[in-house]
Amino acid sequence: MKSVVEFTLNGEGRAVLCEPRQTLLEILREEIRLTGTKEGCSNGNCGACNVLLDGVLVNSCLILAVEVQGRSIVTVEGLARPDGTLHPLQQAFLDHAALQCGVCTPGFLLSAKALLDEKPNPTETEVRYWLAGNLCRCTGYDKIVRAVLDVARSSAPSTPTR
């Protein structure tokens, strides 16, 4: 049976008619038509579908849309400023050529954002740990790690927080 699910998406209120069996990923892409969030594996292994749920990094392919009633979701579309200025992580991914086909990129951006929100000046080990749930078949990961570390270094206070 369908029900109306109300939640906040990138700061804006939404109400969407959902069936219990529809995942959050499906609703984002097919009902709301925000296709930045990608479907890779659909079983929790690749991280392409990552979003923030009340600030917590999650796989939207393993969440039922009905579970997010009253919650707040941030997708990759919520990262840039309304005037189009890219988020520093997005800019760094471009500067470091940290993407090729780009399918994994939204997921990596959300993981990196969740990390830097919690820990503005992480070690490389921590960056690699936080990105371990995201798969990329094109870049070899190193450029992605450099991009995240670059943002951390240029925005964090000079004393390491660890």
């Binding site: 393993l62 579970e67 993981s111 749930g133």
Partner: protein, 301 residues
């Protein structure tokens, strides 16, 4: 995905009633990182999902005055990873909560789900066994308490009857000079399923020289996670030295009854059960002596 009803319960009683009325087709939902994936892949068929995440009792983290901890079944790995007081009291548990999946899985994955999914390779269960955790269950016939080592009865099978759910985990007060640890072997550092796993919890005597008590448990080397029952009586009172550690490893190897599958062979898993047990025991000893105060990423605990 197949169609099903979704009921977000707000109390234990409501969840029990919804699960009982749904019968065999009803499943409790924690983080869904096992359940949703299984439904999608057609490995499990459900008619009703009862979401437990909005039940306050299942989200509780409490430290009773007499010591120990009370952890709601729907508390996520991530919440425990970030909980300073829980990490300080039970640093050994962090070995598991920080290994399960990646950060995005940890944000949803609950301890209750890890136990109730009853995978022989679950990374949380051997650690719960080593910590002597008691599982508080609610159901149509009332409440009961199950020692965690008796909870899983086969791959994917538990003692829960229709309508029953896990409410919380009771961690007994840890004595002074107590330490615990869990280690697993996987080909990949993160995001992999254990080929074998071992948890150890120790209590040392006042001088820190002899074992006062030892509790060992294994994962992925049998149809359920296993308590190494002989380790307690055989090691209590023994001096901590290479001979007693080697004895612990051989007791673990003797209990391990692994199978050969795509992840490993019987021989490799039996060998790993011994090696991981000795290493987990060493780490638990360091913690009992207060000489190991950082987690796997080198961060202070």
């Amino acid at each position: 995905m197949q169609a099903f009803d979704y009921l977000p319960a707000v109390s234990v009683d409501e969840a029990v009633a919804a699960l009982a009325a749904g019968g065999a087709g009803a499943r409790a939902l924690g983080g869904g990182t096992d359940l949703i994936a299984q439904i999608k892949e057609g490995r499990r068929s459900v008619a009703r999902i009862v979401d437990l995440k909005r039940i306050p009792a299942l989200a509780e983290i409490k430290f009773p005055p007499e010591g120990g901890a009370w952890i709601g079944a729907a508390v996520t790995c991530r919440t425990l990873n970030q909980h300073v007081e829980f990490k300080r009291r039970f640093p050994g548990m962090h070995d598991s909560t920080h290994l399960i999946g990646g950060v995005q899985i940890q944000g949803r994955a609950t301890i209750g789900g890890n136990l109730c999914n009853a995978s022989p390779a679950a990374d949380g269960i051997p650690n719960l066994i080593a910590h002597r955790v008691r599982v508080h269950v609610a159901g149509p016939a009332g409440a009961r308490v199950v020692p965690v080592e008796a909870f899983c009865v086969g791959p994917g099978r538990t003692v829960l009857a229709t309508g029953e759910l896990v409410v919380a985990f009771e961690f007994p007060a840890s004595p002074v000079r107590f330490g615990a640890a869990y280690l697993r072997f996987t080909p990949r550092n993160e995001m992999d399923i254990a080929v074998a796993g071992a948890a150890a919890a120790v209590e040392l005597d006042d001088a820190g020289q002899n074992f006062k008590s030892v509790r060992l448990a294994l994962g992925a080397v049998g149809p359920t996670p296993l308590l190494v029952e002989s380790a307690g009586p055989r090691l209590a009172g023994q001096p901590v030295n290479d001979a007693s550690l080697e004895l612990a490893g051989s007791l673990a190897r003797a209990v391990a009854k692994p199978i050969t599958d795509m992840r490993g062979t019987i021989e490799q898993r039996q060998h790993l059960a011994g090696v991981l047990t000795v290493r987990a025991l060493r780490l638990a000893l360091d913690r009992a002596r207060g000489t190991r105060t950082v987690d796997a990423l080198g961060r202070p605990l």
